[in-house]
Subunit: 427 residues, 2 copies
């Protein structure tokens, strides 16, 4: 027992030290010119390519242990690195380097009657904690986005990918050194104890400005419940597609199948289809046939079953379920108002789409659905920072504070006010 307490104390002290180093790095980072940050990012990309063998060797150790432990194939796939994935990481770093630097941008400015000129200027947030699981590429992706926004980052990867993450992290540090930036700008927590996560979630004595969890629902739920600092996250993506009676049928079929089936495992994939009761005789059957043909299991509400009795019935739990699989729940709703009510009740406020030609229906859906992203006549699978043109994203947030929707470089910044005067005093 006592040695466990001592061990816990040891980890807490280690984490406090990591926090202090991050805070110390944040100040020079905030002032680093764009060229210096980009030099680091490009050097990191070069280092990743030059260290390919070492990274693959480290990944082989993780893969062997995962196989030994009998982990699932989907887990092994997320963990795996190969030539292509290393090249993709390096490419991602170079893309972030090519992006516009957000720091110092004047977001808005105005003049006051007394002659004061006020500017709202973008600044870094400070120190960001990223907690992730099996994907070792997060080490490079998240590290790069935080650096571009002038933030120090503390990365805490999963124990199963520890060797891979360490090898990638070494390349990130090499890039920082090459550009003369503090090595502690991107730190990887060197221990895999869960106590390290707890310490990070406490905010390390006011050091950590925001936490970004990257992983499954149980990780995100723990972070949301325990974090004493703001969190950018989404617990799940229970995304809806509403097909109005005014929808173009061919378009509706195409979008619904894409929204559900393009990739079923991502947070922007559709989980529930809502069909206008006025479209019961026109749209419902062709869309469900298209889904079935595409290999999707349909779980239907009682009203659907009345007209199409051959589907599996949906129960209350289905409306609350993020399948992340080739399964969709289908309900009939009383027009756009009914769709809005269903969504208000069951949605995770991530992404919802309306398929309609009637502009009043679209505007009502857009105004009344309170989700991070609402789409008209487009697939929910566009819920992605890259697809939004933001460059990379560190995740998608469903909270309403600061960042909502895709969290890219810009969302990892704060701002301050610069006020220019000529001797003004307040009367």
């Amino acid at each position: 027992m006592l040695d466990k307490v001592a061990e816990a104390n040891g980890i807490d002290a280690l984490m406090q030290e990591i926090g202090k180093s991050a805070k110390a790095a944040a100040r020079p980072l905030a002032m680093a010119p764009p060229e210096q940050k980009n030099k680091a990012l490009l050097a990191m990309a070069d280092a990743l390519e030059a260290s390919k063998d070492a990274i693959l060797a480290a990944n082989a150790v993780d893969m062997a242990a995962a196989k030994e432990a009998g982990l699932a194939a989907s887990f092994m796939d997320r963990l795996l690195l190969n030539d292509e994935r290393i090249a993709a990481m390096a490419h991602g770093l170079r893309e972030v380097a090519a992006q516009k630097d957000p720091i110092g941008e004047v977001i808005t400015e105005w003049d006051r009657p007394n002659g004061l000129h006020i500017e709202r200027v973008r600044t870094p947030l400070g120190v960001i904690g990223v907690i992730y699981e099996s994907r070792p590429n997060v080490t490079a992706d998240a590290g790069a986005l935080c650096l571009k926004a002038g933030n120090a980052v503390i990365l805490r990867g999963g124990s199963d990918s520890a060797h891979s993450s360490r090898a990638i992290h070494a390349c990130m540090v090499e890039g920082l050194k090459a550009a003369g930036l503090p090595e502690t700008a991107i730190q990887l927590v060197p221990v895999t104890d869960r106590a390290a996560v707890g310490a990070l979630l406490s905010g390390l004595g006011g050091t950590v400005d925001v936490i970004v969890p990257r992983g499954g629902k149980s990780l995100v739920a723990r972070v949301q419940a325990e974090a004493r600092v703001p969190v950018f996250s989404h617990l799940e993506g229970i995304c809806h597609v509403y097909v109005d009676a005014s929808a173009d049928l061919e378009m509706a079929k195409k979008i619904v199948v894409n929204a559900k089936m393009r990739r079923t495992g991502i947070c922007g994939s559709a989980e529930t289809l809502l069909v206008d009761s006025a479209a019961l005789g026109t749209h419902l059957q062709p869309i469900l046939e298209a889904l079935t043909e595409a290999g999707c299991e349909v779980r239907a509400s009682a009203t659907v079953l009345k007209v199409l009795p051959f589907f599996k019935p949906a129960d209350e739990e289905d409306w609350r379920t993020e399948y992340l699989d080739a399964i969709i729940s289908v309900a009939i709703v009383d027009g756009v108002g009914g769709a809005i009510n269903h969504i208000a009740h069951y949605s995770s406020n991530h992404t919802e789409a309306v398929i309609a030609e009637d502009p009043d229906v679209v505007e009502r859906f857009f105004n009344e659905v309170d989700s991070a992203i609402v789409l008209h006549n487009a697939s929910t699978q566009f819920a992605d920072g890259g697809e939004f043109g933001m460059g990379g994203e560190i995740g998608i947030a469903t909270g309403k504070m600061h960042a909502r929707g895709p969290v890219g470089v810009e969302q990892l910044t704060s701002f301050k006010y610069r006020v220019r005067g000529t001797g003004q005093i307040r009367p």
Copy 2:
């Protein structure tokens, strides 16, 4: 003991009910057109004027109790209502009604190569909790700003101002009713137990989106320590004025005296004067003389005392103290770099000013000082939402998330993405 537990359970249940009602009101509020919200605000202003006698009678009860309890004169002044202050509240409500409605504003929009048109649109935050102390006018001011931004608000005023707040709240509800808005859009917690604050800080089961404390340091500290939801606040305003050797002396004297002495009790008043060592022989003495003449006590660092030995010495604690009084601490620093270091160490990241004619000094100060507001050749007392042209403010935030600096109507909003397509699916 048991009845205390029962009482606490009772209050928790009451607060949960208040939370539910606020959440229920938030949805229609989010969709209320500008005219409806403004009609409510104007009706509230009328009701305040029509209910003047009732409000003054309620305030007399609070004032008598405060006198009985021997509360300080400054406290009594904050508590006091009179004809002028009621007129000011009504005027404030009418000013908020006249402001631009932020909801639905397209903040930014862009097109994607695939034809998707993306808009970032302003939305309400949801439910805001406001915790305040003696000033009953916060009931009207905070209620109005939250309503304008389409948010439901839960107001928890201090026990000493309970009668006054209740009388004002009745007028707010009258205005809501007159405009056909839900009465629970602006709720005043009807009990003054501290347990009600604890419940509010817990977020009422995910109901409360943000807490704004309005009051002294101990209230803000408690809210910051205990809140399980985001907080817009500043613990204190340890504001600095740095006078560079390049500063115009007359301007520097005028600004320093105004920054410190215009009103010493507000968070934007200067607490520490930093003078460039290169200005020791030119600027220091005239500025300190001007402060002394204005009735300000000077607490001087050892370096200042070497040249001007007749001041009271400052100790380490002085650099960390928000006097909120006619006292200023004065240090000599090694140019703008020295000023930046002192500020990084001691500032509360609220507001700092640089007085200089050298543009390089100004730019360095603006870039490297990490406070919500930095000013050049202007008084720190401009740190105010009204002075920024934001209309009213609910407070000033020194955090870096979401709202920083003055928190006006715009800062009480969130946003969502509206994506308009023509049948796009993701390849």
